[in-house]
Amino acid sequence: MTLEPSERVADVPPSGIRRFFELAEEMDDVISLGVGEPDFSAPWSAREAAITALERGQTSYTANRGKRKLREAIAADARRWNLEYDPDDEVLVTAGASEAIDLAFRALVDPGDTVAVAQPCYVSYTPGVTFSGGEVLDVPTRVEDEFILTPEALRAAGAESADLLVYCYPNNPTGATMDRSELAEVAAFCREHDVDVLSDEIYADLTYEGEHVSIAELDGMRERTIVFNGFSKAYAMTGLRLGYAMAPEEVIAAMNRVHQYTMLSAPTTAQHAGIEALRNCREDVEEMRSQYDRRRNFVLSRFEEMGIDCFEATGAFYVFPECPGDDAERFAEDLLEAESVAMVPGSAFGAGAEGHLRASYATGLEELREAMDRLERFVSST
């Protein structure tokens, strides 16, 4: 065969979500709780800034690391979480947080290195490690711990020998968040065993109980952590593809070396939107957050009334109920077939997620209500 894919790529299976997506796409009138992005549009003033930049003809590349004004705004914003990074050397603007995470794998992982991946998690970490030639070590978290990462879970998986640990809190798909003391235990483990941390904090602003804490803030962690964030979730800018990484100078330089030869720079129009978003859109973010919180309360209440077990997720825009049936994949398919409601089986998100379903509440209240009515009807009929 000509143009034969590399073994590295051929070995990575297609996303587990893919098949389910195809099923849902074939149907009409689907209410989807399977969407991993906001139902809001980006704040108007951010969109307007992007339009203005286009009108002014600002369509060239930017500096590889991103526009200085944007890096300054990012560094200033990070102080909300007690993080201090130098906008010149310690911030890298990327095409979405996904690019930043991929850059980190490519910049840090040598063939044979072990990367511990806390799961269930976003679908791209494991393939990203594989593409970089690293070995993935699954670290399942447990429903008993409300899906937070614990030293016990790390030890049980044998993560003492890992070179890197990657996780995401607030978490997709579970909606779990970690507080300061819980992170401190993970930090202690990482210091003791010399494990570096890739901390995906893309949902940081969507925290509903208490304040988001970054592990990079904790003692001795800044020098061994890369923090990832972006504009997709809190600012509802998924399609603009804008994210960033913050880390010590040497790491950012290494990531930038890959970035400059591949992406060159993040989309310029999006960077203009990003500057405005950070400067003037806090209220929009707060408004969206309060809408999500309302929906979260609603969905959790309805689950409880239906007798569906679900821990109280406190972040992102997901809840992660236990599947009322024996087989979550079967249940999700039957639910889609019978009631045209889409929820994603947990197994699509890796280890520890079996028997669960991810329900996204990034959907309007009216639709959520209809979805819950349909789910209730389905559950009571089976």
Partner: protein
Amino acid sequence: MEHADELLELLCENARYSTADLARFTGLSEATIEETIAELEAEGIIQGYTAVVDWDAVSDDRVQAHVELNVTLDRETSYRDVAERVAGFREVQGLRLVSGDYDFALEVEGENMREVSRFISDKVAPIPEITQTVTHYIMETYKQGGHRFDDGDDDDRLSVTP
């Protein structure tokens, strides 16, 4: 009434939310919701409940106008006195005292333009304190009460994404 603000916000968004749903959204009990709303009504903070209607979608017959009113006052006559006389008419849907080039902003509704014009010329303009009226017919409504009209609201997101 510590939850008043949140409840008012929800009711302004959709006054038809059921008590049960309001309780689910806020985490309050249904009894607290009922109590708070009853108090808000009793205190006149909630003055009423109404629907946001796109009348253009129902019929072409109904006409709305925004009318500027200028008045002169004297020792015996206040803005409130004028307002009382104007607000009493069934045709008047809204009345506000505003700052700027004119005194009152009036919302009027009628079956057709002639009816609205006649109402202004026969009933409003002759009021002694009113010195000038300027009538603006509403040609198209894009947003009202926080609701966007003709907002396609198409969800073009993929139905399942990671």
